[in-house]
């Protein structure tokens, strides 16, 4: 009797694992293919995909750094994603706190609305602004503009992600601090903020990835000195159509931070990309 249950359970497991295997093949196949191609010689990439014994190489990556100064564009991406994440957090954390304390559900919805607006809608006004203030020829100004543009992504995201964390903080702690005569700012800084540190790290992680991956704003607004990775990779298509190895190496580098974070912060990522739809 009991062995019967065990076999049935095993059979069910086998079915599930078969499903897993098929799904994993389909959904991680192209990503694995990208990494594999990034390490293959161009001659082999243009050859058969079934030739899995062909030697691998770092050439595609070293080319990126030697010939295309990729380190410079990585730095640009770090400046833009880092800057907009920091700004999003500094502005978003106090805002999320107020939204929770004043129970402003409507404003939470407004941040969702900001997420809904098509990015193209912002690009045109920002572009005209950038021309008027001379940002296309001024590197510092251009970075400032790009960071501001990316703030449109990171600020609502930070607020949205932080609200549930602030909701978890008991009111009693703050009441005690208030009796001790703490001002609102002191209470927020010294009592509340340390308690939402996990939330802050989630917000930092996800904002950074979203900003790092974002393509449209930089496509329209960046100049040659401020181009971030996604745009430079896109520009590669025109330059060397046959250099698939280089393209795949660039793609692999772009997706590296997100991949690393998937490994270390998986639980939070699910919550983050689903926008708190599922807790």
């Amino acid at each position: 009797m009991s062995t019967d249950i065990v076999t049935r359970r095993r059979r069910r497991f086998a079915g599930v694992y078969l499903g897993y295997l098929i799904a994993a093949l389909i959904f991680s196949g192209p990503v694995l293919f990208m990494w594999w191609s990034a390490f293959r010689h161009n001659v082999d990439i243009t050859g058969s995909i079934f030739d899995i014994t062909a030697p691998l190489t770092f050439e595609n990556f070293t080319n990126l750094f030697d010939r295309f100064a990729f380190l410079y564009y990585i730095r640009n991406s770090f400046i833009i994603a880092g800057g907009s994440t920091l700004a999003g957090l500094v502005l978003g954390a106090p805002a999320a706190y107020v939204i929770v304390r004043r129970k402003m559900a409507g404003l939470g919805f407004l941040t969702l609305l900001a997420r809904m607006a098509p990015g193209v809608l912002f690009v045109l006004p920002l572009f005209i602004l950038s021309v008027n203030i001379g940002a296309p020829s001024n590197t510092a100004l251009n970075f400032a503009l790009l960071i501001s543009a990316h703030l449109i992504i990171t600020l609502p995201l930070c607020i949205w992600l932080l609200v549930p964390f602030f909701e978890d903080i008991p009111v009693s702690l703050e009441e005690a601090a208030m009796l001790d005569g703490c001002s609102v700012w002191d209470r927020f800084r010294a009592v509340v903020l340390p308690l939402v540190l996990p939330g802050l790290s989630v917000a930092v992680t996800l904002s950074f990835i979203f900003s790092w991956n974002y393509f449209l704003f930089a496509l329209a607004l960046a100049n040659n000195d401020t181009l971030p990775l996604p745009v430079i990779a896109f520009n590669f298509i025109g330059q060397g159509a046959s250099d698939y190895g280089g393209l795949m190496a660039a793609s692999a580098l772009i997706s590296l931070p997100a991949l690393i974070l998937t490994i270390f912060a998986q639980r939070w990522l699910v919550r983050g990309i689903t926008g708190g739809a599922v807790k």
Binding site: L91, A95, R101, V120, V123, A250, V270, G275
Partner: protein
């Protein structure tokens, strides 16, 4: 909160007698929630500058005529919108956008339900697999588009090599106007089905077990339980997933812009790409503004419809 106080005020002006008791309920937020406004202000100001100002400026652009040289010749009324309604390219891009929206959303929902069910089953290694399913959604759109560009390559791409290996004819994935839109849809389905599945799986795992037990006692089959009990209970979560995808699908941009730039023969020209190209390739800022506002309207209307539909569902269950 706001409605309560508004009603109280209205009542107070009409009948002063009993209102005295009600005003105490208007005492406002608890003490710790007082004086917190300064913390919200910076975010409000920045949002106003970055979100609302551009939208207002876009509205102005759409009813005026900005020349490619940068000068604006002033108010022109509805002419940009009138032009839009007569522009076959505009209607084509609406069609492409809606086509991609419907095809991708349907397939992603159906496959997402199946994969989500699979992901909700408790077996050892589930977490690892869940992490694996995150990878497509978290990979930069540009990187995804570039990989699929290689996969779709007509002569040396992986897709055609596999087709040839199993004895099928190779396909011109991105060069044929009738096929390109499907190829683009496949990329989106590939990237976002696991995302749907993750939300759905989390939803399934949080379902109460009682309704299912009751259905079992009534003799319901496994399929009937899933269809008649599980699906309705899952609707609130499913509708969130559908809403998130809807918003992104109507704004379809990155994949198309990197892979086909709207071609061949405008067959993949989504409204978003069309608006962008009108602004930055054709340099017609005012017409582009009108196009972008129509896209915003489309997103708000469809998202509003889904939100309304969601409310109705939550009342029913």
């Amino acid at each position: 909160m706001t409605t309560t106080s508004a009603q109280t005020t209205a009542g107070a002006s009409q009948e002063p007698g009993p209102a005295a008791g009600r005003t105490r309920r208007r005492a406002g937020p608890p003490p710790i929630a007082r004086g917190v406004w300064p913390l919200l202000m910076p975010a409000m100001v920045v949002t106003g500058l970055l979100v609302f100002l551009p939208v207002i400026y876009t509205v102005w652009l759409s009813i005026s005529e900005r020349q490619p040289s940068g000068t604006n010749t002033g108010f022109v009324g509805w002419s940009n919108f009138a032009r839009m309604f007569e522009d076959p390219q505009f209607w084509n891009s609406v069609q492409v956008t809606l086509f991609l929206f419907i095809v991708c959303l349907t397939v992603e929902t159906v496959l997402g339900l199946a994969l989500g069910f699979l992901l909700s089953i408790d077996v050892p290694g589930r977490r690892f697999f869940q992490g694996l399913m995150l990878v497509p959604a978290i990979t930069a759109m540009v990187a995804v588009a570039l990989v699929w560009l290689l996969i779709y390559d007509p002569t040396l791409g992986a897709a055609n090599q596999i087709l040839t290996a199993i004895g099928l004819d190779p396909v011109v994935w991105l060069g044929d106007p009738d096929i390109a839109i499907w190829s683009i849809a496949i990329v989106d389905i590939w990237q976002w089905t696991p995302f749907m599945a993750l939300i759905i799986a989390a939803g399934i795992r949080s379902l109460p077990s009682e309704p299912f037990e009751a259905a079992s006692i009534d003799g319901a089959s496994g399929w009937a339980k899933a269809r008649r009990v599980g699906l309705p209970l899952l609707m609130p979560v499913l509708s969130v997933a559908v809403l998130l995808r809807t918003v992104d699908l109507l704004r379809f941009f990155d994949t198309v812009y990197v892979m086909t730039q709207g071609g061949p023969v405008n067959s993949t020209m989504t409204l978003n790409v069309f608006g962008y190209r009108t602004a930055f390739v054709d340099q017609q800022a005012s017409y582009a503004a009108a196009l972008q506002l129509s896209l915003l309207l489309l997103v708000v209307v469809v998202a509003g419809f889904f939100t309304w539909w969601r409310r109705r569902l939550s009342i029913e269950y």
